[in-house]
């Protein structure tokens, strides 16, 4: 809609009302991170902290290796996103642009894996990882969650839409199937690949159940798992948990605010549909 200079104030009012609900928990989190223990348990409940209790942050920081967890999450998610999207590009290309036997059946199996809740296979998966000697290692953290039917589906839908004429032209120029992937499909799919990477990263960033089971040592914990342990460890110290949450969440939130425009653009361009 191109009405650049005329603001729609009715829509704005409705959105702001929703916005208050959406960010209220964050406001509460930030306020509570500065509360003293007495504020937390005060009756009637206190909204505004009695002072700026910075020591909550210091305590959370001393209690756990925060920077390490943050880095773990970042590295693991990035590595997984890279490997996942990388392998998915090949798979999506094979499914959308190549002819080979049993394609339909293989595709169906690969896509229907989206239906499986993880809890279903978690024990056999754990036994397998143990056989491979990968319990409590980055390999064990990464490998089992590398594959995603969703990522393949997303890319495959987009690759399908690339006109076959372009492919033919490339073939006449002497490109084989992989040449076409490199010179035609990938250069034309920037938006789709960015979108797939975005969703993939998000999925790994939030991953919970598998890391909880496979990681034992403190230094391998990712942020969600670390937070979970911190919550158990600080038992009734809500103000410390909130300070920890602020530290865990804020960097990502801020990064997101500054980059979201690009994401939305690429998701729009990728013409996401199922």
């Amino acid at each position: 809609m191109s009405k650049p200079h005329k603001h729609n104030w009715a829509a704005f009012t409705a959105l702001v009302a929703g916005l208050v609900v959406m960010i209220f928990p964050f406001v509460w989190m930030i306020l509570s991170a500065f509360k003293s223990k007495a504020d937390v348990y005060a009756y009637p409940p206190k909204w505004i902290p009695s002072g700026l209790n910075w020591e909550n942050f210091a305590r959370a920081f001393v209690m756990v290796p925060f920077a390490r967890w943050f880095l773990n999450s970042l590295l693991v998610s990035a590595a997984m996103t890279f490997l996942q999207v990388g392998s998915a590009i090949f798979a999506a290309y094979a499914f959308s642009k190549m002819r080979f036997p049993f394609k339909g059946a293989i595709y169906l199996v690969v896509i229907s894996t989206m239906l499986l809740p993880q809890i279903l296979t978690i024990i056999p998966m754990f036994l397998l990882i143990a056989k491979l000697g990968l319990v409590d290692s980055y390999g064990g953290l990464i490998l089992p969650e590398l594959f995603s039917g969703f990522t393949i589906l997303l890319l495959q839908q987009y690759f399908m839409a690339i006109p076959d004429d372009l492919m033919h032209a490339a073939r006449i120029d002497g490109c084989g199937p992989l040449g076409c992937l490199r010179h035609v499909v990938i250069p034309n799919s920037g938006a789709a690949i960015a979108t797939a990477s975005f969703f993939s990263f998000l999925g790994h960033w939030r991953s919970y159940l598998w890391p909880l089971i496979v990681v034992n040592s403190t230094k391998l914990r990712t942020l969600p798992i670390g937070l979970k342990y911190l919550i158990t460890e600080s038992s009734n110290d809500y103000q410390v948990m909130m300070a920890a949450s602020v530290m865990a969440i804020m960097p990502v939130l801020i990064a997101f605010v500054f980059t979201e425009k690009r994401f939305i653009r690429s998701i729009t361009l990728s013409g996401l549909k199922a």
Binding site: G86, F126, A130, K131, I213, N236
Partner: protein
């Protein structure tokens, strides 16, 4: 192009490769040749810190073994993680956890028993006999009691004072407590809170089992060492359930909100709470009100089921096991175990602890005195496979009672029937 091919082949390799043949029978060693042990512990906050200090002490006390202590979350988290770990032989060397025998004896791992019996320095008779019962599976010892607690009746002194209740007179029976809690609730709400209660507990099945035995009704009976039969559906048990229901019906106790009990108590909105003695250390600093404690009230007789957990040793080959035993023995030294206990509110497990000066000093403080005095009435049943399930089912039966969905006899019968079906 070739780069992509390499990437693809790498991915395939990454996927299929990675096979390593780990022999867990040889002890893991650090680069400088020391034996490395992994230790999981399920103690949070200040209690966890007190335990870590003990482990540090062990690491400094000798130069052959290095222990890496890892906080493994709550009791439930630890159990969730230990099950697949055992199946995959990825368990730690030693763990400090609840229901340890379910993960040793139940798996036919009696390694620790040989050490207990053969090590002359250990002096197993110095440990309270009830605690040994708490460390058995099928009648055989397969854990060492370490963080043992008793349930204590804590109270908020300020509320009792506001309600004009004489706190120097402890409630002896549950009927006494009922009267006191009711009065505290009616007259002690000086904050005018809408969420103010007389009595609650943080672990409903634990207290219920205590009450059962106080009323002369065992929780389970054991036949031929290996068969356990739940019997909490007899008349004496129904009597207890009836009292329990009355607490909820008369709104002295909030209906089925035990997970909130500790939070309420700390917020000053609950007059009495039954909680583990392991809260003594933490709450003494946390509570913003006068914290008091009474001996657990009783029905026909005093009776205290032990709670908490212990140390277990997982069989990882003789070399590692020997090192693990060294650690356990260090932690169990009279002074060390007592220091840990006094820092946390767990009870000392050795009879000779009473002679340790630091214990003498602390055990005279009012809160500890009560936790320790209760030991004379303490007991435990052996661990059995469906123990966790039983607590779950008792919890669900109590919930149905409190919410008025079932009558006492009905709830107990249904719960026992369900448990028997699980055991068949």
């Amino acid at each position: 192009m070739s780069r992509r091919l390499i990437l693809a082949s790498l991915l395939a390799l990454v996927t299929l490769g990675f096979v390593s043949a780990a022999d867990n029978r040889a002890a893991v060693r650090t680069p400088d040749g020391k034996i490395k042990l992994t230790l999981w512990f399920a103690l949070a906050g200040a209690n966890g810190d007190a335990f870590k200090a003990q482990v540090d002490g062990f690491n400094k006390s000798q130069d052959k073994v290095v222990v890496e202590p890892i906080f493994s979350g709550s009791y439930a988290d630890t159990a969730t993680k230990i099950v697949p770990a055992l199946e995959a032989k990825a368990e730690p060397n030693v763990a400090l956890m609840a229901a340890g025998p379910l993960y040793t004896g139940a798996y036919k791992n009696w390694a620790i028993l040989d050490y207990i019996n053969s090590d002359k320095d250990f002096n197993k008779d110095d440990i309270f006999p009830g605690m040994w019962e708490y460390s058995k599976f099928d009648g055989k010892i397969c854990a060492v009691p370490y963080n043992i607690s008793t349930p204590v009746l804590f109270y908020n002194k300020d509320i009792l004072a506001a309600a004009g209740i004489d706190a120097s007179k402890a409630p002896v029976t549950w009927a006494d407590l009922y009267t006191m809690a009711k009065k505290a609730q009616a007259d002690g709400n000086k904050n005018k809170s809408d969420d103010f209660w007389g009595f609650d507990m943080s672990d409903a099945p634990w207290l219920f089992k205590a009450m059962l035995s106080q009323n002369g009704n065992p929780v389970v009976e054991t036949k031929e060492q290996t068969t356990t039969i739940p019997v909490y559906d007899r008349a004496d048990a129904v009597e207890v359930a009836t009292f329990w229901k009355k607490l909820a019906d008369d709104k002295v106790m909030p209906q089925a909100q035990h997970a909130n009990a500790e939070k309420r108590f700390l917020a000053g909105n609950l007059a009495f709470i039954v909680a583990s003695s392991s809260r003594i250390g933490r709450w003494t600093t946390d509570a913003k009100f006068g914290l008091g404690a009474f001996t657990l009230p009783r029905f026909k007789k005093a009776s205290i089921p032990l709670g908490g957990g212990g140390l277990v040793l997982f069989d990882k080959g003789k070399e590692a096991n020997d090192a693990s035993w060294l650690l356990i023995k260090y932690l169990m030294k009279v002074e060390n175990q007592a220091t840990f206990a006094m820092a946390t509110g767990y009870v000392p497990v050795r009879k000779s602890s009473v002679n340790v000066p630091s214990v003498k000093a602390v055990s005279e403080t009012p809160l500890y005195k009560i936790a320790l005095a209760q030991l004379k009435d303490s007991w435990a049943y052996w661990h059995f496979n469906e123990m966790g399930t039983m607590d779950l089912l008792i919890g669900q039966a109590l919930e149905r009672l409190e919410k008025g969905k079932q009558q006492p006899a009905e709830a107990m019968t249904a719960s026992v029937a369900e448990l028997k079906a699980e055991m068949q």
